[in-house]
Amino acid sequence: MNILAMDTSNRALSVAVLSDDRILAEKTTDVNKNHSTTLLPAIDQILKDSHLTSDQIDRFVVAQGPGSYTGLRIGVTTAKTFAFTLHKELVGVSSLASLAGNIRHTNALLVPLFDARRDNVFTGVYQRDDHGQLTNVVSDKHVPVAALIAQLKMLNEDIIFIGTDVAHFAERFRAAFGQQAHFADDEANLPHASELGLLGAQKEAVKDIHAFIPHYLRRTQAENDWLKTHSDKGHQPYVEEV
């Protein structure tokens, strides 16, 4: 099975081509450029490097979130459009799981995170089981950093924090966890679409490609405000073909 995997959920961009469990090509960049202009050229390049064309891909794997809303939409729209238009499989993988997957050979808690501003993070807790399989301990969510620290304290295990945004909170993690706090190296802090592709190879393909959307993990401000005084039940369809 040929897999094309892509991650545009944060500043870094990563794309990879895999054939079964073999990584044929990967390209990862971490420069502040618009993913809209860089994603398809990057895909074109690694497909060419792999001597494949897009219609020879059997499964499109995308980092489904959380992350930057615009970045997620570019990745998800690209992946779902490929799968839809070429009649191929589509799989979404947590952007956080993909980062956690960068760390192998440990049974420490794996805590990937993205800065969500105003002292909040998108994060989840992962761990490798006895077979080395990545498992999800605490599901992905949007939380205040303080709440994450409190929850990790209760788990009372060694922790590896992962992601380029971890630096913003490193002092607080050191203060809270002392010797139990560990930090991933630069290589592991970047998303690698090869890892995303390996995780995506194990998942079931989505049934309804049209309905596939990012895992934003947050409602919009406008909807939150509206819901304070209104009910979301029994409304007319928000979007309708006319």
Binding site: T70, T81, T85, E240, E241
Partner: protein
């Protein structure tokens, strides 16, 4: 050998409609699927960009599938893929741009970037062939412009609004009347039931330039309503709507006709969401008749006045002839505008 028909798959997602169309030879609509988000944005009294972007992701492939099916074509039949890349909301534009690029890439088709405002104008192509030089009055949610077209696909702004767009003014005064977003159509309906009794200002109508201004009219309207509220007086909604609409139409029609005469224009295209306005349609027809003008006024069909993929396909047909293609790095350009004419004086 029979020549292959030209088929363009066209995407539009600049604001709160996801639309995909299949167009034959720039003149025939094989399908034009429009998914509108109005019921969603009504909740907030206007388009919320992040909400709009999220809805586009939910609908873009659905609309594509429906458009291909309704047109009864396959990807092998297509000549090119076209997409609106600006102006509009950047998050919304990006969904159409991303989907269109991916489909063009996957099926090895050329990609045609289209200016949304060119699309609005070319919606008129479904009524009859356009004859140049022509003048277009572009009246929509975000624009009020007089555009001069020397030839196909060439656009120069010769008059512009200095503040609010006409559609925007409709939506804002509609809000004051308690009409849900977008208010234009309902204000238009009410206007036909009332009379111009309030004599709102006709901004810049006699000024020696081709520009417009609607913020003074909007303020006068809002002040009138608030003042009546304060003294407990009840004003006729119909008369308010009729007075507002009369002021808008007076200015639009007076200035447009003046420019058409000055430039010796034979064909006037009225385009954009506000081109659906019945009052505007009636008045322009009346003036042309009363003054015996040699001016052919073309309005797109109502369904093609608002945002839709068919208009993008018609504009793309011209761009295809000029071989104006984009690469895989095409980006959305939210502030894309036509150039101002060299003679334009703000």
């Amino acid at each position: 050998m029979e020549s292959k028909r030209e088929l363009i798959l066209a995407f539009e997602s600049s604001c709160d409609e996801t639309s995909v169309a299949v167009i034959e030879d720039g003149t025939k609509i094989l399908s034009n699927i429009i998914a509108t988000q109005i019921n969603s944005h009504k909740r907030f009294g206007g388009v919320v960009p992040e909400v709009a972007s999220r809805h586009h992701v939910e609908y873009v492939t659905r609309c594509t599938e429906d458009a291909m099916k309704a047109a009864n074509v396959t990807y092998d039949d297509l000549t090119a893929v076209a997409v609106t890349y600006g102006p509009g909301l950047v998050g919304s534009l990006l969904i159409g741009v991303t989907a269109a690029k991916t489909i063009a890439y996957a099926h090895h088709l050329p990609l045609i970037p289209v200016n949304h405002m060119a699309g609005h104008i070319y919606a008129a192509r479904y009524v009859k062939p356009l004859e140049y030089p022509l003048l277009a009055l572009l009246v929509s949610g975000g624009h009020t412009e007089l555009v001069y077209m020397k030839a196909a696909g060439e656009f120069e702004i010769i008059g512009d609004t200095r503040d609010d767009a006409a559609g925007e003014a409709y939506d804002k005064i509609g809000r004051v009347l308690g009409i849900p977003y977008p208010a234009g159509k309902e204000v238009d309906r009410l206007a036909h039931l009332g009379h111009d009794t309030f004599n709102f200002p006709r901004a810049m109508i006699h000024e020696d330039n081709d520009d417009f201004s609607f913020s003074g009219l909007k303020s006068a309207f809002i002040n009138t309503v608030h003042h009546a509220d304060q003294i407990g007086e009840k004003l006729s909604r119909e008369d308010l709507a009729a007075s507002f609409q009369a002021a808008v139409i007076d200015v639009l029609v007076t200035k447009t006709i003046r420019v058409a005469k000055r430039l010796g224009i034979k064909q006037l295209v009225v385009a954009g969401g506000v081109a659906a306005n019945q009052g505007l349609r009636e008045r322009l027809a009346q003036v042309v008749k009363d003054e015996h003008l040699d001016l052919d006024v073309v309005f797109p069909p109502l369904r093609l006045c608002g945002d839709n993929g068919a208009m993008v396909g018609a504009a793309a047909h011209i761009e295809l002839q000029k071989k104006h293609f984009a690469g895989l790095d095409l980006n959305a350009d939210p502030s894309l505008e036509f150039a101002y004419a060299a003679t334009y004086q703000p």
